[in-house]
Each structure stands twice: as C-alpha cells, then as structure tokens.
C-alpha cells in the first residue's frame, strides 16, 4: 500500500515552547495509525500542524505526493484531510443537518453530498432521528457521532481523529470504535487516531506510535505495541507483580 501521509522531522512551537521536537511518521492508504501518549505529549499539536491550524517551524508534511506544511486550513481540507477535533466542537446553535452540511462546505456536488448524508445516517441512525435538533442539545456521545459524521461529509482521504473517546462511557466508546472499524473495513477509510485510551486505540489500529514530550519514542505494529511491557505498564495499566506478589517500586520506561 502506498504512503498517503508522511511527516518528516516536524518541529512546532507554542510561543517559546517547543511542542513537537522532530516527529517523523507515515500513514499508508487504508491504514489506521494511532498516536498514543500522555497529556502534553504534543499529540494534538501534531494533528493541528497537519491540518494547518498551526504552522511548523521546520520539517515537511507530504500528503498524496504534495507538500502541505504551513498551508492555510481551507487549502488542506480541500485536499481531503479532515480533522475531527478534540471535544467534538460542533456548532451548538445549528441543527444536526446544518452541521453536516457545513462538513461538506468545500464540496459543490449536491447530489453526492445528499448521498453521503444518507450514508452518515446509516452509520449513525440516532443523528437521522435528531436531524432537526440543535447540536448543542445533544448528549456528549451524540455530539461525538455528529463530529465524526460531519468529518465524513467531506468524503476525506484521511480522517484525523483527536481523542474520540474523551468524556465518553466505556460502552459509548466501544460503540464509536465499532463504527470507526466498520468505516475502515467498508470504505477503506484511512485514519490517524490520537488517543489516551491505549486499549481501544491499539485494538483498532494497524500501526502505533508512542509520543512523549514532543518526540516519537516507540513505533511498531499495534499487536507488538500492545504486547510490549512498556505499553502494558504505562498505558494499559497492567500492574507488574514482583516476586512477593506486590509492586514495590516504579518501573522505568525502557526508552529513557
């Protein structure tokens, strides 16, 4: 499979703070790639730099054979990159239908847009029921579904998902991830998924990266990452038991 998105030696600053310190990664067509990491690791900044909300200081972002770093967000969206932002970010006083229509803002093929809206409604039937309701009155899970559906309306080549599980119950998280899996299998949607919930993310993803303090510290297939001791103890929360059946010290991460 060909490489759809490639990030090379990316460096991004928040004022004087270097949030991304030389990140390189790649996403192949049809793949789900996850980026794991704790708060403040720079995951969201990475996504914002890819979608053009923030400009990188150094490095390259190559999408579909074209360099897109530092371009305006609306140019990048037109090329087929859509970000489903952290915390939903729906338009609160617009209806579900209007929110979806805005997802297709850059498209002008009305018939196709209508078909895609029906497709979104088959993935998220609850949105069809609430189509005339204001998005701000939906529950958190429904808003997340709306945010994903709104992203699909672009008919993107890649979706950048920023913490879709944030603030959702385990059951709703499962539901959302089941739908993401279906999207990947049915239409071959390429996804880059940023998550703190490593268990669900690695379950869905083909490949994973671990970010810490603005750097990529691990990169492997999702199965190998899920099996690795570092990930198990620091991101999956498996306690390692010592010889006496209790934990007596904190383990050090192997990459330090």
């Amino acid at each position: 499979m060909s490489v759809l998105l490639e990030v090379r030696n990316l460096e991004t600053f928040y004022g004087a703070i270097m949030a991304i310190r030389g990140v390189s990664l790649e996403v192949r067509k049809g793949q789900v790639v996850t980026v794991l990491g704790a708060n403040g690791a720079g995951k969201t900044t990475l996504l914002k730099t890819i979608s053009g909300i923030m400009d990188p200081e150094k490095g390259k972002i190559v999408f579909d054979g074209e360099e897109i770093q530092g371009k305006e967000p609306h140019h990048i969206v037109r090329r087929g990159i859509v970000q489903v932002p952290e915390g939903r970010e729906v338009f609160p006083v617009l209806t579900v239908e209007e929110n979806l229509a805005l997802g297709a803002y850059t498209r002008s093929d009305k018939a196709e847009v209508a078909r895609d809206r029906d497709l979104v409604f088959t993935y998220f039937p609850i949105l069809a029921e609430r189509r005339q309701q204001e998005a701000g009155t939906l529950s958190g899970g429904q808003q997340q579904m709306l945010a994903i559906g709104r992203g699909l309306m672009l008919r993107p080549k890649i979706m950048l998902l920023d913490e879709p599980s944030l603030g959702l119950s385990p059951l709703l998280t499962q539901e959302i991830f089941t739908i993401l899996r279906r999207l990947n299998k049915d239409v071959g949607m390429t996804m880059m998924l940023v998550e703190q919930n490593a268990a669900v993310a690695l379950d869905l993803a083909d490949h994973g990266y671990v970010m810490e303090l603005g750097r990529i510290v691990m990169s492997d297939t999702a199965e190998k990452l899920a099996a690795s001791e570092d990930i198990q103890s620091f991101y999956l929360g498996h306690a390692n038991e010592g010889a006496r059946g209790e934990r007596r010290w904190k383990k050090r991460k192997t990459w330090r």
């Binding site: 909300i53 609306h74 859509v82 932002p85 970010e89 617009l94 805005l102 701000g136 958190g140």
Partner: protein
C-alpha cells in the same frame, strides 16, 4: 390614540436603532470585536446616499442610487477589514475598541470635509408628508421605515438560513476553530460580515436621513444602538432588533409622561436594570458547552 401615536413614532425610531444594533452584533458575533464606529458607518451611508441623490451633487434617481450606495458601503466595510482590522488579529480587545472609536472620528471628519458640517436633507421619496387615519397623524417616512426594516429582517433571515455564505457566517461565529476544521475560509467570511454590516448600516442611514435632517453627529445614535444591543442580548440578532425597538418606544413615552430630561436617560436606565437583572440580555442565546 395618543398611545398609538407615540408607539408608532417610537417604533420607527427603534427600527433605525435596531438596524445599527444589528450591525454591532453581526460584527461582534463573527469577529468578537465591537465596532464602535457602527453609528458613524450609518451616518456615512446616509451621506453617500445624499451625495448620489441630491441635486447639488450627482442628482441620481433615488431607487437607482440605493443599490449603488449599498455596494459602496459594503465594499468599504470589506476593505476596512482587509486593510485595518485583519492586522489586529490576536491583539488585545482594548486595542480593537480604541481603533474602532478612532475610525469613528476619522469617518466623521472625512464626511465633514466632503459634505460640510451643516445639517442637510436627503431628497428622499420616503419623506413625502403625513397621513391621517383614526385620529393618528403619521409621517409616511415613519411607515416606510417600519416596512423597510421588516423586509430587511426577513431578507437577512433568509440569507442566514438558506445561503451557504450565511451558514458559514453562523458557523464561524458559533465556533471559529471548528469552522477552520470544516475548510471555511474564516478570514474571508469575516470580511464578508464587515461588508454585510456596512450594507445594513447604509440601509439604516438612508432610513434615518429620510426621517429628518442629517449632519455628521448623526453617528452618535450608535451609543443608543449599543445600549439597545446590550439590552437585547449582545450576540443575538433578533435580540438586537428587539432591543432597538424597546429603546425607540421608551423614548417618546418617557418624553410624554415623565418630567423633562428623563427621556434622554430612560434607555440607559433600562440598560442598567437589564444588566442587573438579566446580564445576558433579554433575548440572549446562551448555551453551555457539554464535555
């Protein structure tokens, strides 16, 4: 009957306040900046119209001049955003407030330099005289103002509901970050909002000038309109119009039934009451964000 008389003339004044307040709210919602020059925009719109229509200037047909004046004011709003306000992006709110106040001064004096400082009258077919019916004397201008405002409101409503640009304006004002994520060229949309505010101000100016004489201090009704916008709930378009109508209606009633001098205070007294008891305004659209 006296009641009807006061109500109708109040409503006509209120429509002008409401339209200026609408301009305030449009820009505030889209860019989170308050344009204190909005009243002077209105005044300038009226003078541009006067320059096109009055015989000593260009002497154009009134109805032909309306779209031209709207276009000029729309272009001016857009250019002002493009050349001045866009460069203030990310600056302190206070800086933008001071900038727009200064813009108001500039507009006032440039207008004075071009059209003079004396009160003048717009040759408007709307200012035709009075009609008498059911014991009420109404100037045609007042009725025209009310009708035009109703039409204008419906057009704006349709624009926001039906057009892609209108929807994009709403989106950019409700959640700017998400608008960027949707590929909406937010800065260009904000420019379009300034253009729209310029046009609304122009309509308000034409109506204002049709009701009476015009001079360069006409822009000071912007202060009353600002109070109206706050009363209605800053950030709500229907609220701005309603606030304008309330302020407009209060004035003649206060002038009639309260001791002299109180009518000037009345709108601001109401403003203070609203700020104390309903700080978000009477018709606010406030939604808390769910996590």
């Amino acid at each position: 009957m006296e009641f009807m008389q006061l109500l109708l003339s109040g409503l006509a004044n209120g429509c002008v306040y409401g339209l200026v307040a609408l301009g305030f709210v449009l820009i505030y919602k889209a860019t989170e900046a308050v344009n204190f020059a909005q009243g002077d925009f209105m005044m300038l719109g009226a003078f541009v119209m006067l320059g096109l229509v009055n015989p000593q200037y260009m002497g154009m047909n009134f109805w032909l001049a309306v779209p031209i004046a709207l276009l000029i004011m729309g272009a001016l709003g857009y250019l002002l955003d493009l050349t001045v306000l866009r460069h203030m992006f990310g600056q302190n709110q206070t800086a933008i407030v001071i900038l727009t106040i200064a813009l108001g001064f500039v507009i006032r004096f440039v207008t004075g330099a071009i059209w003079g400082h004396e009160p003048v009258n717009l040759h408007s077919p709307l200012a035709l005289g009075d009609i008498r019916a059911f014991g009420v004397v109404l100037s045609l201008a007042d009725i025209a103002v009310i009708i035009v405002t109703v039409i204008m409101t419906m057009l704006l409503w349709q624009f926001f509901q039906r057009t892609k640009l209108g929807l994009a304006m709403q989106a950019a004002s409700q959640n700017q970050m998400a608008a960027y994520y949707m590929g909406i060229p937010v800065k260009r949309v904000q420019g379009a909002v300034w253009a729209l505010a310029g046009m609304v101000a122009c309509v308000a100016g034409i109506l204002y000038a049709s009701k009476g004489s015009l001079d360069i201090s006409a822009g000071f009704i912007g202060i009353k309109a600002f109070a109206a916008a706050v009363i209605g709930g800053f950030g709500s378009l229907p609220g701005a119009l309603m606030g304008g109508l309330i302020v407009g209606v209060i004035e003649p009633f206060a002038a009639r039934y309260l001791p002299p001098g109180y009518s000037q205070i009345a709108p601001y007294a109401l403003l203070i009451l609203v700020l104390i008891f309903r700080p978000h305004g009477l018709f606010a659209q406030v939604r808390t964000k769910k996590v």
